[in-house]
Structure formats: C-alpha cells, structure tokens
C-alpha cells in the first residue's frame, strides 16, 4: 500500500476546526451540538444492542462502533426525499432517517427480516448480500431521473440516492457494475464507502492495492477520501456530493476512512487476526471525543448539555431494551402471506395444510400455540 493520501478533515481528533480548500461545514454550533447528540445516541443504541445480544435477546449484532461520524455526518446531509440504501451496519443512518431503533433489532433478533417501510422512510432494507444494494440504489436513481426529479432546482423535488457499503464490498462485481451504470446514465447516486479497514478478518490489502476512493477515476466520476471519524467533514462532503447528484451532475464516490473498533459482529473474535495496537491508535481518533472537545472548548457548552444527552440516552437504552424483549415471535403461518403480493393458490393450500397439521398438536398438547 503506498503512502496514505490526504483526506478531507474539518475537525481534528483534538477537537480543533481546520480549513479545507474545497469543503466547508455549513452549519453552526447548534447543529454540531445536535449532531453530537446523534453520535452519542447512536453509540448508545449500539452498546445496548450488543448487550442484548450477549444476554441472548438478539441472535447477532453488527456494531458500528467507531463509524458513528461517517454515518451521522453523511446521513444528516440528506434531505427527506433522498433515499439511502444501507448494508447491515448503518444504524446511524437509520437513526437520522427516523427509523425507530427498536425496529432495527427485529432482523437481528430473528423475528423478521426488516420491519420498516422503505417506501415511507426512504431508507432501504438492511442488505446482507454484500454489494447487492448498490445496484438497487443505481436503479432507484434511474427512476428518479425518469421522474424528472433531478436538476429542476426545486430543493424539495430534486433527489439524491446514497448507497452505503464497506471496503470489502468494493470487490464484488455488483458494486463495480453499479459504478458503470451510474456513470453511463449519469445517475444521481452517491456511493458512500465506509472503509473501516476490515472485511471480517481480511485487511484492506485483500481488496485493493491503492486507496479505494481512486476506484472512481477508473469509471469516470469523482472520488474523494474523507476523515470518516470527522462528522463535520463527512457532512460537508456528502452534502456536496448529494447536491451534485441532485443537480444532475452524476455520481460521486466517497471513501470515509475509518476503523471498525469492535468485532465484525458479535459472532466474531478479532483477536485471532488483528493486533491490539491498531485499535489503541484509532481510539485516539474517536469520532465522539473530538466533537465533545470542540463543543466544550469552542462552543461553550457546559456539563448540563452533556448530562442531558446522557440522560436521554439512558431513556433510549431503556426503551430499546423494553422494546426488544417485548418483541414477540411471529406466527409461522404468517410467512405464507408474505411471499407474494398476489398469493398463489398453491401457497394458500400449503398454509392451510400446515395450519391443520399444527392444529393436531394444539388439540393434543398446545405445543405449537
């Protein structure tokens, strides 16, 4: 891997704001404070979910620890009509898109495979098959074009689409095809890659030998690297890229350079494949700490501001826990209703047959009630 290139940074790990020739954060301290709240609450969602998994309430959890800024920064740049297509780790984006964190848990608990309405929330389903959603995003963006919702100058109409994916995903054919389609059709899509340095146990050098953002140049659209732990920079570059998309100037690849602070998922054991030294170094770049430092030092926010957020996050955690534990298992007969928009007779017959079969137990023992 050659020397790491520059990235866009607007807030240093120490909490100092810095200038960048091309990008500026256009919000005020109040907005930074509100993003800080998002960062803290998102991390709290994550911590709580991880705990719930440890306690057997979830089957698995994919932690976003360390990636909060990349997600909050980018998602806060989206307008309501903008559509985001996530992987399975975009809890911060979900939060900004108004998804109830409890709803996020159902997939991981195993009670359903997605419990929000993508068409109402403009937030796609979590997608586990790596990279698949990038094509969906591109197709959606082509639909946006066909709807005339690009380049009209109407801020409430022009629509950008954001595809989230990881560093590992860049090796999938689908992701590269998405780059091609987006470029050829000049689709209003932003490819937001969180390069957290790892794809489960594989370091980034198994996916590329040059910095990932440069991939875009091969497809004919701009790519840039941003400090993925800097919420201001992530916001600024995403705002610029989505604006570009909305104007009809086509796709952008953003590589948010960050680090997966935790395990790949709760099933993973990173001690088998990575050194703790890395983790320690990255802790110094924590995405929350730097905003905290800035808000304290430069925005004059006092302890009660932070205490309020802490209190709010306690309430949230409590609500998540309650919500999770209360989540009932679905009835198995319900799955037959979900396969098709227009159920087939064949399936209806299977459903009836299985219901009758289950009834034999019910009358006998109540076992499957």
């Amino acid at each position: 891997m050659p020397e790491e290139p520059e990235f866009v940074q607007l807030l240093t790990p120490e909490g100092e704001r810095v200038e960048h020739p091309s990008f500026a954060f256009d919000g005020d301290d109040e907005m930074i404070a509100s993003m800080y709240r998002d960062l803290v609450l998102t991390r709290r969602i994550d911590t709580e979910a991880t705990a719930l998994q440890r306690q057997g309430e979830l089957g698995i959890w994919a932690s976003l620890l360390g990636q909060e800024a990349a997600q909050i920064g980018s998602a806060r740049a989206l307008r309501p009509q903008d559509f985001a297509f996530p992987t399975y780790r975009e809890h911060g984006v979900a939060w900004c898109k108004g998804i109830d964190p409890v709803a996020l848990l159902s997939l991981f608990r195993g009670v359903d495979q997605g419990s929000w309405n993508p068409l109402e929330t403009n937030f796609g389903l979590y997608t586990i098959v790596i990279g698949a959603q990038t094509l969906h995003a591109t197709g959606y963006a082509m639909g946006v074009q066909r709807d005339g919702a690009v380049g009209t100058g109407d801020d409430d109409r022009d629509t950008a689409v954001v595809a989230y994916f990881g560093d590992g995903a860049t090796s999938q054919g689908d992701v590269n095809e998405a780059f091609i389609w987006a470029s050829v059709f000049n689709a209003p899509v932003v490819f937001f890659c969180q390069n957290n340095q790892w794809a489960i146990s594989e370091p980034i050098d198994r996916q590329t030998r040059i910095p990932l953002y440069q991939r875009a140049s091969g497809f004919g659209f701009p790519g840039l690297r941003v400090d993925g732990n800097d919420v201001l920079a992530c916001h600024a570059v995403t705002k610029a890229a989505t604006q570009r998309a909305r104007e009809g100037s086509g796709p952008t690849l953003i590589e948010a350079f960050t680090y997966r602070m935790g395990a790949h998922t709760t099933s993973d054991d990173p001690t088998r494949y990575r050194l703790s030294g890395d983790l320690e170094r990255w802790k110094l770049k924590d995405p929350l700490a730097r905003v905290h430092a800035y808000l304290t030092r430069h925005a004059g926010l006092a302890e009660d501001f932070f205490a309020d957020i802490e209190a709010e996050s306690d309430v949230l955690a409590h609500r998540i826990r309650e919500g999770c534990v209360a989540m009932a298992d679905p009835h198995v007969l319900g799955i037959f209703d979900k396969v098709y928009a227009e159920q087939t007779e064949e399936l209806a017959a299977q459903q009836a047959g299985y219901a009758a079969y289950l009834d034999t137990f019910e009358t006998q023992t109540g076992a499957h009630a």
Binding site: G114, P118, A132, H136, D174, E177, A178, V184, A341, E345
Partner: protein, 324 residues
Amino acid sequence: MSTITLAKALNDGLRASMEGDAKVVVMGEDVGKLGGVFRVTDGLQKDFGEDRVIDTPLSESGIVGTAVGLAMRDYRPVCEIQFDGFVYPAYDQIVSQVAKLHFRSGGRLPMPIVIRIPFGGGIGAVEHHSESPEAQFAHTAGLKVVACSNAADAYWMIQQAIACDDPVVFLEPKRRYWEKANLDREAAPAPLLSSKVVRDGTDVTVLAYGPMVKTCLESAIAAAEGGTSIEVIDLRTLSPLDLEPVYASVRRTGRVVVVHEAVVNLGIGAEVAARITEQCFYALEAPVLRVGGFDTPYPPSRIEEEYLPDLDRVLDAVDRSLAY
C-alpha cells in the same frame, strides 16, 4: 383475428402494456435500435423513447439489480436477458433480491419485475444459447415462472405478467419465435397462472410447456393415426403449477408422460411426477414417465435434434407407458 408470429405477438403485447402504463420500462442489451436479437422489442424505442426502452451496459446482474431499484421507485421493469445461458450472472440478484424482497420487507415492497428469457434449443446455435434454466427458478420461492408456447398466449401472457405485482420469469420458446398463430385480440385470455388442455384424448396424458407443446401436439396427431388417443396439456405456469386439470386428466387416462427440453434430472417433470403420483396414486396405471435432456450439457448444434425430445421419443414414452 389476425395471424401473427410469436415474436411479433410479444412485441404487440409489450407495446400494449407500455401504452397502458407509463411506468412500464423495457431494459436489456440491444433492445433499442436493434430491437433485440430476436426483434421482440422492435420499434419500441423509436416510439417510447430512450428513457423507457433502455439499452443497458453489458451486465446482467446490473440489468436485474437496477430493475429492483426501479421497481422500488414504482416502475415496472421488463428485463430482457438476451439468451438463456446469460441469465446466470444475474442469478444472485434474481434469487436473493427479486424473489425475496417482498417477503423480506414483510410485504411492503412489491417487485413487479418481468424477466424475459428466450429459452431452449433447436435453432442451431453455439453453446450457452440453448439452455433450459426454468427448474432453477421454479425451485425459488418468491418467483412466478411461466412459459408461453404460441403466439396467442404470448400476446396475453406478457401483458398479464407485466400487470402482475410479483416478479415473473417469463420464458419464451425461441425456436418458435417465427411460428404463426391466430390471435383474437378481443377474446378474453385465460388467467396467467393456469394450465390448459390443448388437445383432448383418452389414453395417455402428455404434459409439456414452451417449445415442446408443438412437438407433443404433433406426437398426438401421429399417435392418433396409430389409434392411440393422447391428451396434451400445456402447463403454461411452472411456478406455481396448476395441476388440477392434470389430475382430472390423469384420473381418466391413468397414464402420464411429461416432456421438456431441460435435463430430466430435477427438471419440472420430477416435480410434476411426484405430485401426480401423490394425488392420483390409485388412478395411475403406470409410473409417470419423463422425456427430456440427458445429464449432459447441451450438445453441439449438429446433434441437437438427436438430443432434444422429438416426436419419436415422446411416442416411445407413450408406448412404454401403455405397456404397463
């Protein structure tokens, strides 16, 4: 009433759907100016524009994957896969996304996508151009899989498939593209997901779909000369299957032969045989016999006619069935 080729009937059907619903878009390789390698989309781009008839990059996963996104934006994409053998790069998007998204979303995301696939052999083509991939899609819950066998069905079925809110894998018998049939555009079409008795008979029931329907009808004519009465049923829908008419027939004939080009092993015939045996166990005078591809890849075209089920092989199976 007009006489029309199967390819033109599809073209007319697509046109009717596009006229009826501005959300219908056609996408695929060479579907624009060229009108597709089989001319099924001929003239559509000229009349509906490049936004609705999209010449795509050469990537099948892209075709189907972007169709998912378009469907989420309320479009009804009709994807053309140029030849059967080229659907596999899109396989992941089809089985893990298109087929599952309605389910995974708890019913919130309809996937009104049609995936058109010219399928089967018999046109003297090189490798990968004569495949019969239907069983793989029929095995995949969440898809609907249909095959037309003649121009009139083609005209209606493509429109019904496009109107369906579920994903439909739409199989077109490419060796029959240039065959003509009468099309009555005023007639009420049969439902999309229904099989159809296309020739009445009393001795043996023969089941087929797509290109083999014609072969079986010809077999029935030949058999009639020999005094054997064959009932031919065009399955039309492969997933779900519509087997009530088949059971009714089998209860009368007691004998069944299933015919398809696809490899016999785990082909549609396997499922049909298993179900018929289960539903008509006491009515069967003979096991359901299957005629289809051997367990080999599709052979070089010079011998494809010997590989493909033909009149003789159908009649051979009929004879074997009658011999029980």
